[in-house]
Symmetry: C2
Subunit: 512 residues, 2 copies
């Protein structure tokens, strides 16, 4: 075997079964190895941000890393924004970057750049392979690093010559550490906070939002009366009828402060203390103040489900859990707005659906509206690097293996990585993109308003997408995705039903 084949062989042994790739010349040995060592599904993205975003979506659904295959520094750079989101989501991903032959770097060829400097900000684990013989063990370490709780980005830079050389050494999968159990003291301190009925927020994040964690949180809330709140940007959350339905910690700081004012105590379970998304004059970065009593029950990387289970026991919770009733919303009618769009989706989304939310201002209330829909999995953009929805829903659909994925997609964000639609068509994925077309960067218009700025010509030009308005029906069809336009709630419902009943990808351009 050559080095490239050892990479693929080891990745397969470590449980990797999908590679989102946009290879170039330096990765040709790996492309050949994907054929000669079968076991990994190779999925082409026509832009690297599609590959990394797809790996994020895939990892959120399977909780296992996909591999990405990226071309040198500039190819990797195109994938950074979605790796930033994945890093904030604690999604496990293994990036393989093909590098020039080691002996060629000194010549400073045109595509040469400092890959380590580019990769470090989005990689928890980063290594440059130093020989063909270490490639197998490098990959085994990368996968173990990626899988270490709470989930990490591992990036391996592989010079082309090592891929081509004979590599005698193989490597076995490495043990992956379990999530760290919290101490009895942590549990006791949280239980003490809940003992006297004082208003307490249980702020849930990470795996606390998977169904097992939520059910324990629901039991705790049922007996203590604490409020269940989820972090502002949940990477993955179980939702729907029969599942405890935390409210979302608000995005805008004034609303966050208003919510916190109702509580004297905050317990963090898998969530970080909330910080404002941007720094606003006169608003503190950290919204929880010294006036609050706080306990960190479980930090990211701790075994938060176990911690919540033990906390439920400590507060003498019963089997009764505070769960959402089945209450699909009534179907709205007439001209669409963001809330109506969410109501149409919530009314029609099938049980077991995966909902990807990059709706930005159009989906502010989706989680509340769809709290009583049939049980589903909710995922949203985590790191604020827009352009995640189309790629991540693509990867989620590959992981979902036929189960429906609905991507609620803001138009401005969607324009970043619309190439992902092509991969949906090539792989014939069951993704329905509901494109929220408000022909603007609405969030920027909000922020201008909040800052008291009356937009002049430049501010108007830089925050609107109306001149000309992109025609998403044509864009989707250009990539081979079936598409239709919905001008009102009725037509959105009609098109969504159709899309969910047909195989393959669809895009519905919802005019807001």
């Amino acid at each position: 075997m050559n080095g490239a084949e050892r990479i693929i062989q080891t990745a397969i042994a470590c449980g990797i079964d999908v590679c989102f790739a946009n290879p170039g010349t330096t990765e040709m040995p790996l492309v050949a190895a994907l054929d000669s060592v079968p076991g990994i599904r190779a999925v082409l993205g026509t832009f690297e941000g599609v590959c990394t975003g797809a790996a994020d979506g895939y990892g959120r659904v399977t909780r296992r890393p996909a591999m990405t295959l990226l071309h040198l520094g500039p190819g990797f750079a195109n994938g950074i924004a979605n790796l930033h989101n994945a890093k904030r989501a604690h999604t496990p991903i293994v990036n393989i970057i093909g590098e020039h032959a080691s002996w060629h770097l000194g010549a400073d060829p045109p595509l040469h750049s400092d890959i380590e400097s580019l990769a470090a900000p989005v990689s928890h684990w980063l290594r440059r392979s130093t020989s063909a013989e270490t490639l197998a063990s490098d990959v085994a370490e990368a996968v173990a690093a990626a899988c270490t709780p709470p989930g990490h980005i591992a990036t391996l830079i592989v010079p082309n010559d090592f891929m081509l050389q004979t590599a005698a050494s193989d490597a076995q999968p490495l043990p992956v550490p379990a999530a760290t159990p919290v101490t009895d003291d942590d549990v006791a301190r949280a239980a003490a906070l809940l003992a006297d009925g004082e208003a307490t927020m249980l702020l849930l994040g990470g795996h606390a939002l998977h169904e097992a964690g939520l059910q324990q949180a629901g039991r705790i809330a049922a007996v203590t009366g604490c409020a269940l709140i989820c972090e502002t940007f949940p990477a993955r959350m179980a939702r729907g009828a029969g599942i405890p339905a935390p409210s979302r910690f608000p995005y805008f700081p004034e609303q966050g402060l208003e919510l916190l004012a109702k509580f004297k105590r905050v317990i963090y379970a898998g969530a970080r203390p909330p910080v404002t998304f941007f720094g606003y004059d006169g608003v503190p970065s950290h919204l929880v103040s010294d006036a609050h009593q706080t306990v960190m029950l479980a930090a990211p990387g701790d075994d938060v489900v176990d911690a919540l289970t033990r906390l439920a026991s400590a507060v003498n919770a019963t089997d009764a859990s505070q769960v959402a009733d089945s209450s699909p919303p009534e179907m709205p009618t007439g001209k669409l707005d963001g809330d109506k769009l969410c109501r149409v989706i919530a009314a029609l989304q099938p049980e077991g659906a995966f909902i990807m939310d990059e709706g930005v201002t159009s989906t502010l209330n989706y989680l509340d509206i769809a709290a009583g829909a049939p049980p589903y999995t909710y995922m949203r953009i985590t790191g604020g690097a827009i352009g995640m929805g189309i790629p991540a829903s693509t990867g989620a659909a590959i992981a979902a293996d036929g189960r429906p994925v609905i991507n609620i997609q803001a138009d401005g964000s969607g324009l970043y990585t619309l190439q992902g639609l092509w991969t949906q068509a090539r792989e014939n994925l069951n993704v329905t993109t509901v494109l929220c077309n408000n022909r603007s960067y609405r969030i920027l218009q909000f922020e201008l308003m909040r800052a008291g700025i009356t937009p002049g010509d430049a501010a108007r030009a830089l925050s609107n997408l109306a001149e000309p308005a992109p025609d998403w029906v044509q864009l989707a069809r250009g990539f081979g995705v079936a598409a239709a336009r919905a001008e009102d709630a009725e037509s959105l419902a009609h098109e969504l039903e159709r899309a969910l009943n047909e195989d393959g990808p669809h895009l519905i351009e919802a005019m807001l």
Copy 2:
């Protein structure tokens, strides 16, 4: 004035008149300042790679820096690939990155990342502003750094709070150093190499390829018989009837070695010694061997036009220059291939056109085919980071102020940054994109063949774009660009004539 207004005021004073922007919340003060301090045209890109590529095209045409306005680390990251190309092209660019408020960074908000680490690999000059009062001088230094020969990327990171604070200090434009004159010794050594008629290659790059440099090179060639060769990836070259027409140094190493075998001597004029694009087993990185006598007449950053002028005197050149005759190619007919596509363009391109070449395998022979076209300016991708053509032709068209730009665009590369078509529509730019649709990453298929790899399922999947084939007519129309398909040479000619006669952007999908 606040800090943001000082930034814009200083940029205007330093000669900046265009800003390619994709702003976010942290850049709102700058967006407002673009209105309150008039003088800079704000152009929206719907993806940051469009902004940086447009700045590259703009800078190549005007030889002055445009400003980009990018949002935090992930927004900047989306622009890295085209900055990599611009850096290799020595294009002057000033990047302004809006950063979180300085006091907010410690909270590690979701969009926080290590911007310096991301920016360093593509920035010659990189600074984080430390107060509102230094913003004006920071901008003046950034512009001077960008303009210093041979042209640089300057990146300034500006915390949001400094933009909002009152800033009393202004700054004057700084002097920009001229290109360094070469020594008399350099000229004498080059002249000595040319003295005895031994076969000599004069390898031209950088400003040697602008018309003044080429005319001097042509005078030298006329009297000494040396061969004029241009670097493989010219950032900008004057071309056409009446202009000396160097051959291009070949991309593939075996052809480069074959060419070099014809020469005993090589003189570098604004070009680096040629290295292979990738490292290939059995081929040296540096193609010029110890068997060649070499002289570095002028390195990038040296005054190569002056050096060539002095060399022409030293070899007693006359006014006679070795220039291309006017010889537009005959119009081809029938089914299209890459060469026919180039011949159609060469036959129709108007005098003074700007030709952007990201045709990759379809335009291998364009420069030879169009050597005798009416005088034009040729530009091509320099750093191998694909996705440059659509953005760079957009920026070039803004700089060209109505003169026609023709972008010869490979399909796989075009998919990287197709969002640039929207900016062409919004700004109603005279850009005609000739999209070379071969439904594949043809260069990868070449490389697989060269490596002796018979493609299996994965290799086929990862190198073809045929299933489904993107429909570029729909994609272009979806962005508001007039589009048509050309199935043969006659229809390409018909559509190209029409596009060149109508205002505004056009895309012609040429089926290869």
